[in-house]
Amino acid sequence: MSAAAPALTAIAAIEKSPGYWAGVIRRFRRDPVAMAALIIVLALVLMAIFAPLIAPADPYRSSMIRRLRPIGTPGFPLGTDELGRDMLSRLIHGGRLSLLMGVTPVFIAFFIGSAIGITAGFVGGKVNTVLMRTIDVFFAFPSVLLAIALSGALGAGIFNGLLSLTIVFVPPIARIAESVTTAVRKIEYIEAARASGASAFRIVRIHVLGNVIGPIFVYATGLISVSLILASGLSFLGLGVKPPEPEWGLMLNTLRNAIYVQPWVAALPGLMIFITSISFNLLSDGLRSAMDIKA
């Protein structure tokens, strides 16, 4: 009981202080581009979650007699694909796997990369050298090449795609986490905490984490757009998601031969990837300036 009491007052103090986060939210709300991006991202996420309720038709139901109808066909507002499936329903359902495949790797890599980077930065010395030199090896691959190498060797499939992309995004996040932590470690209050006898774990939890997690998080949000493009790109190459699942990259691939028949229907899945990726990019930019983090 007595141990919990100071912690509670500490939380109350954080809540009362108008401080940093209130300022971040206020600045973010004043940024019209960032707000628009946030609304689009939320709309896309809701669309993916409630896809079965929103989609007008079954995304798997094919029909040989109504293949490749143009945009604006009655009953099929965005036309049909090469197997006669309703494009609008497939695009709505496609958001599920595309968003999952794009966001999950960055999310997992955020935790793994932060753990590696903060450890390397805080402990320093030999641990830092070993961890960061290993990370450097993965940096020696262009990210697209590494993703394709790994999932090309592992083979197609959602899990293999997620695994490859996570491995791709751990090194950049670890590198940022390491450099931010190294900078924070040199600040005097860390030394003061150490001098007062705080354990390393306690210093990281109380003094380091709060200072480094913001910049790492913002950096990670900037990677989501790359991850989305890469994840759909893997499916576009026949890795990642397998047919007949609706996924934007895979849809773009299977519709490639249809560009001579229904070019604009074939281009639709890519437009969805583009809208999602640019929204995440603008959202990340908005967060960065609202949180006042420099590059």
Partner: protein, 317 residues
């Protein structure tokens, strides 16, 4: 200078070693027996045993790695399962095609990217800046394989101005610098240039804005230097970093060309990789990835050394 080059070289060796291990392991992380990567699935048991011994798959991994490195250093990257030809000879021609595409795309991207970035940084917070920033954010957000498709739809399908696929008439792979061939290069190169363009524009904008805010620029202006004179100083200060970014972008394009080459059926390394994935041709996959990654490592080294020559401040950092 020399000590910096040696230091940088010493850092590259362990990285190259690590890269080779990752590439070596690609065949071993593949599901199933690594032998399936060099044999057709209907191979007899005796042939399987012979091949296992020949490839050394029956030995411990470190020994296998050693043998593989020895072979690779002699230029032997194994034999493609699909075609039966040596991977090295398949790669040779493809690498040339990809280099041509990537170098051209980097040049286009650098030209327009630095132009946009410079104007945006110079007229900061003006409408030109906002426009240039918007263009560069599109450049980094657009799925380039889709952009390629859209350009094909517009310029090949609808307007019929440029060919949609291949590197020459009738799918021939022999390149020549004439209009018949160069026509095939335009769409993939423009598509590919969008990525470095966005990134270089962002970099140059930040560089120019930062340089202009420094005191020596006010000093130059106070001295009575006109805009053109200031411009010269800004370019001199921004160039080393901008060129370094350009060099790295070339490396990213070389390694990342697979998606664009697939869209345009461009007969380069990316297309080769696509085939390797499609046919589960692991020796071809491994060889291509190894060569591209080593290219990237070497390029990184060259960029660092050149940058330190252009800008002595880098060495001290």
């Amino acid at each position: 200078m020399l000590s910096y080059i040696l230091k940088r070289l010493a850092l590259t060796i362990p990285v190259a070693f690590g890269v080779s291990i990752v590439c070596f392991m690609l065949v071993h992380i593949a599901p199933g027996d690594p032998l399936t990567s060099v044999l057709p699935p209907d191979a007899s048991a005796q042939l399987q045993a012979e091949m296992r011994a020949l490839y050394g798959f029956d030995r411990p991994l470190p020994v296998q790695y050693g043998l593989w490195v020895m072979k690779t250093l002699q230029g032997d990257l194994g034999v493609s399962i699909a075609t039966g030809r040596p991977v090295a000879s398949e790669l040779g021609k493809a690498l040339g095609n990809t280099l041509m595409l990537a170098v051209l795309a980097t040049m286009i991207g650098f030209l327009f990217g630095s132009l946009f970035g410079f104007v945006a940084g110079y007229f900061r917070d003006s409408w030109i800046d906002r426009l240039a920033s918007f263009v560069s954010i599109i450049g980094v957000s657009v799925p380039h394989y889709w952009l390629g498709m859209v350009l094909v739809i517009i310029f090949s399908v609808q307007l019929n101005w440029l060919p949609a696929t291949g590197a020459g008439p009738g799918g021939s792979a022999d390149w020549a610098w004439d209009w018949v061939h160069v026509r095939h290069l335009i769409l993939p190169a423009v598509t590919m240039s969008v990525i470095p363009m966005g990134i270089i524009a962002r970099t140059v904008r930040a560089l120019v804005a930062e340089i202009l805010s420094q005191e020596f620029v006010s000093g130059l202006r106070a001295k009575g230097l006109l805009d053109f004179g200031v411009f010269r100083h800004v370019v001199k200060n921004a160039a080393p970093t901008a060129l370094a970014v350009m060099g790295l972008q070339l490396g990213y394009l070389l390694g990342g060309s697979i998606l664009i080459e697939t869209v345009f059926s461009w007969p380069g390394t990316g297309f080769l990789l696509g085939q390797a994935i499609f046919q589960r041709d692991l020796p071809l996959l491994q060889g291509t990835i190894l060569v591209l990654a080593m290219f990237f490592v070497a390029l990184n080294l060259i960029v660092d050394i050149v940058q330190s020559m252009l800008d002595p401040r880098v060495q001290r950092a």
